[in-house]
Symmetry: C2
Subunit: 266 residues, 2 copies
């Protein structure tokens, strides 16, 4: 038994889609969520810089006493997962491998599409993770540079964003994909729109569900689930605008976001 909280971090609000699934599956666990919205989005930045952010945030969370860290951000997982795992004493779970696994399980024609930020697509972590699970799969990737900022502004529907999604998906759909990885934790907030554009023949893979299952298994197998009978307590830490974080947090995560604290990492 281990009553310490789980740490979850992202460049902003995208990680809420992962946190939602984690607390749905593990309602007794406390979570410390850290959104680095002062420096996010991470997508357009270069790998080494994002890796540095990931290491810094993970060590900050470890100092707060978390028992497990989820990098709920594809860009930060792509850039920094291996280094964070090497550096941290607690287990660290990223979002890439669980998403790749979900896609390999779901695809029938073994043609898998991936959409993500520029840094994620450039890192080629998805093709690598998919080929480690099925060397015969074909992978088609596309960076969607504008979508994270749309979500961070709360623009998750409407003609303009629909047109963008349509443009991004067109080349992947022409390749005959039957499975599409939402390779950015912000994209599940656009899922209804993406599903409509992709059409019924395409299964969408949102790694949040797979990550939540991995967190549960990891804690269960290690005997580290929370035992306290007291209600869990979540904390929401943001490095930038806390007002927007509170507003979008309620919209994207739910009523659990009662209060947002401002923190300074540097």
């Amino acid at each position: 038994m281990n009553d310490r909280p789980i740490g979850i971090f992202d460049s902003g609000m995208g990680g809420f889609t992962v946190m939602r699934k984690v607390i749905d599956r593990l309602p007794d666990e406390s979570v410390i969520y850290l959104g680095d919205n002062a420096r996010g989005p991470f997508g357009p930045r270069d790998l080494a810089e994002v890796r540095g952010f990931a290491l810094q945030i993970a060590s900050y969370l470890e100092d707060l006493g978390v028992k497990l860290i989820v990098i709920a951000c594809n860009s930060a997982s792509a850039a920094g997962l291996l280094d964070v795992q090497r550096r941290c004493r607690v287990p660290v779970i990223g979002v890439i491998e669980p998403g790749a696994r979900g896609a390999v399980q779901a695809t029938v024609n073994r043609r898998i599409g991936v959409i993500g930020t520029e840094v994620t697509v450039r890192s080629r972590v998805y093709p690598r993770a998919i080929h480690a699970l099925d060397a015969g799969a074909r992978v088609f990737s596309r960076a969607c540079p504008t979508l994270v900022e749309r979500v961070e502004r709360g623009e998750v529907s409407g003609d303009e964003v629909e047109r963008e999604v349509r443009d991004y998906l067109a080349p992947l759909l022409r390749k005959g994909i039957d499975t599409l990885i939402l390779g950015c934790t912000h994209y599940p907030l656009l899922q209804p729109l993406i599903a409509r554009v992709a059409g019924e023949g395409v299964v969408l893979i949102n790694s949040a569900e797979e990550v939540a299952r991995e967190v549960e298994e990891k804690l269960m197998r290690r005997g580290h689930l929370r035992s306290s009978q007291a209600s869990p307590r979540h904390r929401f830490l943001f490095t930038g605008d806390t007002e927007q974080a509170l507003r979008l947090g309620r919209m994207f995560l739910g009523p659990e976001v009662a209060e947002v604290e401002r923190v300074f990492l540097e």
Copy 2:
């Protein structure tokens, strides 16, 4: 829905430990089991040769109309999984990655031991698969060349094999491992003995359970579970001695092994 059988193969009897878990979890599925006991054990052979066997057996099973192939043999997975996946039209599941995943989930001190055949240990597939999931884990491997033949002869207890197991495990236990991967599908048949030698502080990882779960998920997510109301029908194909296969099959798998067919691959 898809009523075709699942194909499972091994160099001999070890794959029965995987088949047991698969049919326990999916009792409505039919299985074609192929044991290449004319050429097994694969462990002492070289990688390229084992890869060739794996490709040949997988294509034989595909021609028999299986809907999914499980390489229920660590040596063959280590040597041939990627090529078999590239070559086959149906999904192919190996035993390495599921075992690595189980170990990464179970370990607390992140010191993982692996025992396997010579070809498996030499291939370094386990350290690679483990580090892909936790770059900070330490992996200690040991080849146990005599154990497969012991199992193939039905010698799963007694002083002599216990002494061998003790010698094989000693250097790993000195490294302080808290998790040990049974990196050969024959070893679960020695599990009581290995558990006694390893002691209570070491969790044993038998990839059969993880593989069975992967098979279930794969079929479920693709909508390929068997729908027929008729009882499943299993077939047992062996390339060598069918009498021993029948005897040990009943001992290791159970009463499902009613009849063994001799097949010639070459």
